[in-house]
């Protein structure tokens, strides 16, 4: 169950491994022929293992944008004519082929599941390693960018820090975390719930620490932030004069009944509803289900459900409908 992984605060976990083959130059220096050879090699290794092959060149711009919105592919991969994505049926594993490195093995799981994501990415890594990785006794896995060399591992957790954000303590928290070897990316502040008060925390160093150390250290940092966020949420509810519960209930009401909804408003309202679920104001849905709605409601994903080139009003109507239906089970406790 997603609920057992602090999913009301930790929205998702990702582990990414950067890998290159020893016998081909890195993508920036590959010829088209070599790029094709790389694609065929990877596709044939995983061909019979329930992976869907997506060649960037054969996708429409909107289809590519959907992959970016869903964090399955980077914009950089989409812009590469020979770029290829291999996607597992459950979408937990996506392998970007021919991005900055030959392989970017990514495992994306809901909630806080660092060890699980590590294990999953490791099993794919083992299957692909048989063709001979570029590896150096001193520097470990060799990568196009020296910021990835060593383990090639970037582990990250996406956190929904609506409490810390609304009490103004986000800035100092992020600065502290940033000083300890983590990369922090966040959107927050007045009227900024544009991205729903999401903060991404990832390891900065990939060399000189074992994979287990990277995972463990990040896990510790994340758990301490989750704890802090939880106590702030409790204090918010306790000290609420009625303003907070009014706001959260309004947001649920609007999501359930609005006929047009911009993606920005959607993110703001869903952030409120997630908070309401977390503090026991609402029931009937999980945070992971709300996150899924947020993903499906992104602009390109909405456009992909409509024909032709929909107007922004048409998209907002389709989004509102998606949310009305999606939030049917969400009730006031």
């Amino acid at each position: 169950m997603a609920g057992s992984f602090d999913a009301d605060i930790a929205a998702s976990t990702r582990v990414r491994l950067a890998r290159n083959y020893a016998d081909l130059p890195f993508p920036g220096r590959m010829s088209r022929v070599q790029a094709k050879k790389l694609n065929e090699r990877v596709a044939s290794r995983l061909g019979n293992r329930e992976f869907t092959r997506l060649d960037m060149a054969s996708l429409s711009p909107n289809e590519r944008q959907v992959l970016v919105e869903r964090h399955l592919a980077s914009r950089e991969l989409c812009e590469r004519p020979e770029g290829m994505l291999l996607l597992s049926k459950d979408e937990k594993i996506s392998i970007m082929v021919g991005e900055e490195d030959h392989l970017r093995i990514q495992c994306l799981l809901p909630g806080l599941q660092l060890e699980e994501a590590d294990n999953l990415s490791r099993s794919v890594d083992a299957m692909l390693s048989v063709d001979g990785y570029a590896y150096d006794a001193q520097l470990g896995y060799l990568t196009a960018c020296p910021t990835n060399v060593g383990t090639g591992m970037r582990a990250s957790v996406m956190l929904h820090l609506v409490g810390l954000s609304s009490t103004g303590s986000m800035q100092s928290l992020l600065e502290t975390v940033g000083k300890f070897g983590y990369t922090v990316r966040g959107f927050y502040g007045e009227g900024t719930q544009a991205a729903g008060d999401m903060v991404q925390i990832s390891n900065q160093v990939t060399l000189g620490l074992s994979e287990e150390e990277i995972i463990r250290n990040l896990g510790e940092v994340v758990r301490s932030i989750v704890k802090k966020e939880r106590s702030v949420r409790e204090a918010m509810l306790k000290g609420d004069s009625g303003e907070l519960t009014d706001r959260l209930n309004r947001s649920l009401g609007i999501l359930k009944f609005a006929r047009r909804m911009s993606s920005e408003e959607m993110m703001r309202r869903l952030s409120d509803v997630k908070l309401g679920l977390s503090i026991g104001l609402f029931e009937g849905m999980t945070a992971a289900e709300l996150d899924k709605l947020a993903t499906l409601g992104q602009p390109a994903s909405i456009a992909s459900t409509l024909t032709g080139s929909p107007s922004s009003a048409q998209r907002d109507e389709a989004r509102a409908k998606l949310l009305r239906v999606g939030l049917k089970e969400c009730k006031v406790f």
């Binding site: 990785y133 570029a134 006794a137 060799l142 966040g186 060399l207």
Partner: protein, 179 residues
């Protein structure tokens, strides 16, 4: 204030990223914030990593024997060309690695295919000095932690690296040839 990205809309979103302890602050409009937020990983400023191309003064003209990259190419693109670059341009690349990583020795996993040929390969390379330093450090560490089995294995590796033969693997023919 106008958005740093598009310069058109009003900036209402503060975007902060902290990389290598250095804070990068940007003021964005919701649309641009969204666009950038949808992107997965680290935005990278190459100025931070390659402060000056001129700092690679030693053997500036050296070229990778496989892909032809020079250190100047690497500084310009921010990317290393191929695995061989790490070998051929090593003295220029190692300082970059230590600048972005703080440490310069991998301690994590290795591919299964690599394990078997690990020791002979490193012993024959000029980097054997640093390999020796690593083994010495690990040996001290093992002794400190009273992991004597590991210490013995490390001591043997160290001997092998220095051209001495570990006691356990000493063969009659070898020992005679040495004298």
């Amino acid at each position: 204030m106008l958005c740093d990205e598009c310069g058109v809309n009003n900036a209402t979103v503060e975007f902060v990223s902290i990389i290598n302890g250095k804070k990068i602050e940007r003021h964005l409009c919701p649309a641009c914030a969204h666009k950038l937020g949808a992107d997965s990983f680290m935005p990278f400023s190459w100025g931070d990593v390659f402060p000056t191309v001129g700092s690679f003064s030693p053997r500036q003209e050296a070229r990778c024997s496989v892909c032809g990259s020079t250190l100047a190419d690497i500084a310009r693109t921010g990317l290393i060309g191929c695995a061989q670059c790490y070998h051929d341009l090593r003295e220029g690349i190692l300082p970059i690695v230590s600048r972005v990583q703080t440490k310069t020795r991998h301690t994590g996993r290795a591919p299964a295919t690599f394990e078997s040929k690990k020791i002979p390969e490193t012993a024959s390379k000029p980097e054997s000095e640093t390999e020796e330093a690593r083994l010495t450090r690990e040996l001290n560490d093992a002794v400190a932690k009273e992991e004597y089995e590991r210490a013995a294995a490390l001591r043997d590796q160290l001997k092998a690296l220095r051209g001495e033969l570990p006691n356990s693997q000493k063969k009659p023919t070898d020992s005679k040839e040495g004298n």
